[in-house]
């Protein structure tokens, strides 16, 4: 075993190499690795979040769809109800109109009848007098019997 200056040479070399490694190699590689680790972790987290988002979105979509269906159904129902109501109302209106027209017609008819009756009444007395004159062949005092005839006409 020849121990000599080599031992010192090796020590110096060793220190120099370690310092170079410490300054120019180790931090760079570990920094890159740490950064990659972080990137991968972020990526995984993002993927997780995305899948959760997707799930949420799907749930929301399902929800919306269900709501829309329910709404459509309710709209349809109310529309049907409304339609039935409208039909009902129309029927009612029609009936009322019909009755109103009928009433008006009846009133017209009555009025007509009354008018005819009035006309008839006004002529009844004359007719009666003419008839009585003819029957009695005598002149009848018109003023004396007028009241009686009028009464008769009124009772018609």
């Amino acid at each position: 075993m020849n121990l000599n200056l080599t031992i010192i040479g090796q020590s110096i070399t060793f220190i120099v190499f370690v310092l170079i490694c410490m300054k120019y190699i180790w931090p760079l590689i570990t920094a890159a690795m740490t950064e990659r680790q972080k990137k991968i972790a972020d990526g995984l987290a993002a993927a997780d979040r995305a899948s959760k988002d997707l799930e949420l979105a799907q749930e929301k979509a399902t929800h919306t769809l269900r709501d829309a269906k329910a709404e459509a159904a309710s709209i349809l129902e109310s529309a049907n109800k409304r339609a039935a109501q409208i039909v009902e109302e129309a029927k009612e209106q029609a009936r009322e109109e019909g009755e109103r027209i009928k009433a008006a017609a009846q009133a017209d008819v009555e009025q007509e009848v009354n008018r005819a009756k009035e006309k008839l009444r006004s002529q009844v007395a004359t007719l009666a007098f003419a008839g009585a004159e003819k029957v009695l062949e005598s002149s009848v005092d018109q003023s004396t019997h007028k009241d009686m005839i009028d009464k008769l006409a009124a009772s018609l």
Binding site: L5, I7, Q10, F14, C21, Y24, T30
Partner: protein, 314 residues
């Protein structure tokens, strides 16, 4: 290797493979059985183990340093490329591989070291990959690169070891550096007083009341001796463990390689052995790199660990 006509003996072959390319300050004198003469004391490349012994501490293993620095640069270049390419997008190919290593180191560090430090993880990464690469050279067949180097150098006796971690200088150099860092961080975390307290008040707590006061200095000295031994043992065990494992592995590869020249039958057998040992050795080199790193993390964790104050006050 047999350029001078004589094939080397097995002992010479093994010896040659275990000798480093050494450059050092050689005192004047005659060496290597009178083959080389150093006229004045000066820096030169050693020609034989005798010269290396004469150089003593004033020498450096050129091959160990070359491979150690070269492999370190390969490591840094590869990971620097990765650091430049690193992005937060989808990684691919080589970047994946680099990130897998980084992640593995990061996890190991987080398991063993619960404090905040920008230093420990890069330290662990450097140790693991660098030591692994240095160990990996053990799997290159033992003669390939040394023979090539000898051919390029034009010297058949050219010494060239390609596995830096079979050189105790390299492993102990790293071990002592780690412990120097541990001491440095200990002092930074706990202060000089805290560090000295750690060395003197453990494992036996001295009492400062009544009769205990008489024994307190004794206990402190005893603690200091014990803790100093423990502290010195750490880098030595760290360095020698790695060295021992790799040296033994290399030795077996060399022994197997020496068998190749002993005839066809032995050659085939050696080939099978070589393959088996290489496969097994893949585990050893990885494990040793890992053990060195984990122990470093543990020692650094101990440097950051602060004992509860009340332990000193009761």
């Amino acid at each position: 290797m047999a350029a001078d006509g004589n094939a080397p003996t097995t002992t010479e072959y093994i010896q040659h493979h275990l000798t480093n390319w050494t450059y050092g300050k050689l005192p004047a004198g005659t060496y290597c059985d009178g083959k080389t003469v150093q006229e004045t004391t000066g820096w030169t490349v050693a020609h034989c183990p005798e010269e290396m012994a004469a150089m003593g501490f004033n020498a450096i293993h050129l091959d160990s340093m070359l491979w150690s620095i070269g492999l370190g640069i390969i490591f840094l270049a590869l990971f620097r490329w990765g650091a430049k390419k690193a992005h937060a997008g989808v990684p691919s190919g080589m970047l994946n591989f680099i990130e897998a290593i980084i992640e593995f180191i990061d996890k190991t560090v987080k398991d063993g070291f619960q404090y905040r430090s920008r230093f420990v993880a890069p330290l662990a990464l450097t140790i693991f990959v660098w030591v692994f690469l240095m160990n990996l050279m053990d799997l290159v067949p033992v003669d390939w690169i040394p023979q090539l180097a000898a051919w390029i150098a034009g010297d058949p006796h050219f010494y060239f070891k390609i596995v830096p971690t079979t050189d105790p200088n390299i492993t102990l150099g790293m071990g002592f550096t780690v412990i120097a860092l541990v001491i440095l961080f200990s002092i930074r975390q706990k202060g000089l007083i805290g560090f000295i307290k750690e060395l003197t008040f453990h494992p036996f707590h001295p009492s400062f009341k009544g009769v205990g006061l008489l024994f307190a200095p004794l206990i402190i000295v005893f603690n200091l001796i014990l803790e100093t031994i423990a502290l010195v043992a750490k880098p030595i065990s760290l360095g020698l463990r790695l060295f021992g494992n790799l040296y033994a592995g290399e030795m077996i590869f060399i022994l197997i390689a020496a068998m190749f020249s002993a005839g066809l039958l032995f050659g085939v057998f050696a080939g099978a052995l070589q393959l088996g040992w290489a496969l097994f050795h893949i585990i050893v080199i990885t494990l040793q790199a890992f053990v060195f790193m984990v122990l470093t993390i543990v020692y650094m964790s101990m440097a950051f660990h602060e004992d509860d104050e009340d332990q000193f006050n009761h």
